[in-house]
């Protein structure tokens, strides 16, 4: 893990890391219900942030608010150092092209082929030749590990894992700096999920991406995340490296990381004789 962090942070490690997403005092709610309550969160350039939390605790709501799909009640969201609320329309449009989003179920346009899906952002926002768009689409397809003949298929003809990959290719269409992933491994079998994790890690390194990943998957957290933030009852209860998470004694975090599934993985982790890892305090 340490190894991974030094390589991914590479350039940024020398000086203070640049904050790509800065959330301050964010409040989001529906009706009487407050889903996200006074949340602060930072995401630094070049890192993979895993965002965890139980179902219905506001993970996806927070992500959708950062993306501008939901309205906030209070607080500020800065992306690349710019507050979106105060940006003029035109600049906001440009800001939104610096990120790519992988939705939970892919959200591929069902009436278009995979290639057309990948080309959609380029066709709408860039002025490039047809040939170049074709080549770029095929390149992206190859980057995400899809066979070339998938290009002319419709999303309905793809398997679950292929849909995720195609959607990732579309998210990468404009070469974004920031990638949002909403439960990227959900609905994939363990082998597919591991492969997808690896794919994200590889792409993150080669393309120098910053990744904000909402997930449930403990394996993903262990294998590719540099930092983890946890949300419970609308508040960020902890944020930091995996070790901090494991050491935390917040009941939810404890149950999450030291539950049956979590223990199995921490067991695997301790066998790797990672020096920085300390066993979690025994609370019972």
């Amino acid at each position: 893990m340490n190894e991974l962090r030094t390589t991914t942070n590479g350039a940024g490690a020398k000086h203070a890391p640049e904050t790509v997403i800065r959330v301050r005092g964010l409040v989001v709610g529906f009706g009487d219900q407050v889903v996200v309550d006074d949340v602060d969160l930072d995401v630094y350039r070049g890192e993979v942030l895993g965002f965890v939390g139980g179902s219905g605790q506001g993970k996806t709501v927070l992500m959708r608010t950062i993306l501008g799909l939901l309205d906030k009640r209070a607080g500020s969201i800065e992306l690349f150092g710019k507050n979106r609320d105060s940006l003029p329309e035109e600049e906001r449009h440009w800001l939104e092209q610096r990120w790519g989003v992988l939705f939970q179920n892919g959200a591929l346009f069902s009436s278009q082929t995979v290639k057309q899906n990948i080309q959609m952002p380029m066709r709408e926002n860039r002025d490039v030749s047809h040939r170049f768009m074709d080549e770029l689409a095929m390149l992206k397809l190859e980057l995400v590990g899809l066979p070339a003949d998938a290009a002319d298929k419709l999303p309905s003809e793809l398997s679950g894992g292929m849909v995720k990959r195609a959607a990732l290719a579309r998210a990468l269409s404009l070469d974004p700096e920031l990638l949002f992933l909403d439960e990227p491994t959900s609905g994939l079998d363990p082998i597919g999920a591991a492969e997808f994790d690896e794919l994200i890690a590889t792409l993150q390194k080669t393309l120098g991406l910053t990744v904000f990943m909402v997930t449930h998957d403990l394996d993903s957290l262990y294998s590719i995340c540099d930092r983890v933030a946890a949300i419970a009852d609308g508040k960020v209860i902890a944020a930091g490296a995996m070790e901090t998470m494991l050491a935390s004694d917040h009941p939810w975090l404890h149950a999450y990381f030291h539950g049956v599934r979590g223990r199995r993985l921490t067991g695997a982790l301790s066998q790797r004789k990672d020096e920085t890892w300390k066993p979690a305090p025994v609370t019972r």
Binding site: Q97, N125, F132, E135, A148, S156, L174, K205, T206, L207
Partner: protein
């Protein structure tokens, strides 16, 4: 369009030293520069052609993404094919990774299916005909299944879902009253207005009442109500059953040993068969009322006179002809709606497709059935 967003546009500076072409790349080689990057890459290719050696120095490139890396690699490949000895030099480590990842490769063009347009057209026509017959076949199968399951209900009447039946009668019938009443008043009025205007030329405008009475009671009342019900309730049945099918609720019923036809389809179809005749009676009355109003306003036929003329024009059988058709129409609408709903596959698009198909097919069948009834009643002289 994209160009005003780039502070650092991609540039190529070119030098020729003997037979070596030197290219120094600078600026942002990213997709945001759109056609600018492509143009700059084209410069490399056009200038480098003819040289024996070319060196592409990427050391001063400020930012690079896969698009830029691809173009650099593509230019390199094109020059190499033109017989130039090309080298890419000075790449920074992070750029090196990208240049490697986006190395040039030729993508096979998608296989185009060859075919004759005329042959394709006939093939499509043939497919349509075959699907049509398959639909009919499947419909017959479903009808059989339905009849068998309803027959089972007759053997064990306590299994019948009375509450569900009443609930659906309320939904399909009672809640449909306002819209059915409204369109029938309007149509009755329109028929009366046209009848009066056209017959006035022959001095026979009082026969408009005969026209209204017979046309509405025999045909229009039941037909309009059926079409409305196909759009309103037939589609609702398809959507409900379709979404239940999508969420595996139908399968859940099956594995519990329950028949979805008995539990879901029978109450809905029977409710339609009760609701449609009731709605038809309302529709007939409202359409006659509309006709009465218009005749009064346009032709000065008083309500009393209208009723007198109407009584002379129609018999009890005129009313029954319309009414007899109603349960059959309802049966067809319900059956098609249920069949399309149960044929839904896993996706939302499929649900949408089946709802549309359900409405189109049931309206079509209602009209065809009405035609058969017209022939039948003419033959038995009723």
């Amino acid at each position: 369009m994209a160009t005003d967003q780039i502070e650092n546009s991609p540039k190529v500076s070119y030098q020729r030293r003997g037979d070596t072409a030197q290219f120094a790349l600078s600026g942002d080689w990213t997709l945001i520069a759109s056609s600018l990057v492509e143009d700059q890459a084209a410069v490399i290719v056009s200038e480098g052609r003819g040289a024996a050696r070319a060196v592409i120095d990427v050391h001063d490139v400020a930012r690079l993404d896969t698009a830029g890396a691809w173009l650099i690699n593509r230019s390199r490949d094109e020059l190499a094919h033109a017989g130039v000895d090309v080298a890419v030099e000075g790449a920074r480590p992070e750029h090196n990774l990208l240049l490697e990842e986006a190395h040039f490769r030729r993508f096979a063009p998608p296989a185009r299916r060859k075919g004759n347009a005329l042959v394709d057209m006939f093939a499509e026509l043939g497919r349509l005909v075959v699907t049509g017959f398959r639909d009919l076949h499947a419909g017959m199968g479903f009808l059989g299944e339905f009849v068998a399951d309803v027959g089972r209900i007759f053997v064990r009447p306590w299994r019948f879902r009375g509450v569900s039946l009443v609930f659906h009668i309320e939904r399909f019938g009672f809640h449909g009253v306002p819209i059915i009443a409204l369109i029938n008043v309007l149509v009755g009025g329109i028929v009366a207005q046209q009848g009066i205007f056209q017959l006035r030329r022959f001095g026979a405008s009082s026969y408009a009442v005969d026209l209204i009475g017979i046309l509405i009671l025999r045909e229009l009342g039941v037909l309009l109500t059926s079409i409305m019900l196909a759009g309103r309730s037939g589609s609702a049945i398809t959507a409900e059953l379709g979404s239940m099918k999508m969420r595996e609720e139908i399968d859940a019923l099956r594995v519990m040993g329950l028949s979805p036809i008995e539990v879901l389809v029978a109450p809905r179809v029977l409710a339609l068969m009760v609701a449609l005749p009731l709605l038809t009676v309302i529709a007939d009355m409202m359409a006659l009322f509309g006709g009465l109003l218009v005749s009064w306003v346009y032709e000065g036929i008083s309500p009393a006179a209208f009723l007198g003329l109407l009584q002379r024009a129609i018999g009890r059988n005129t009313f029954y002809v319309g009414l007899i058709k109603a349960p059959f129409m309802a049966f067809v609408i319900g059956l098609i709606g249920a069949m399309e709903g149960l044929a839904t596959e896993g996706s939302a698009e499929s649900l949408g497709r089946h709802v549309t198909a359900s409405v189109v097919k049931s309206i079509f069948m209602v009209i065809v059935l009405d035609g058969f009834f017209a022939i039948f009643f003419a033959a038995i002289d009723y």
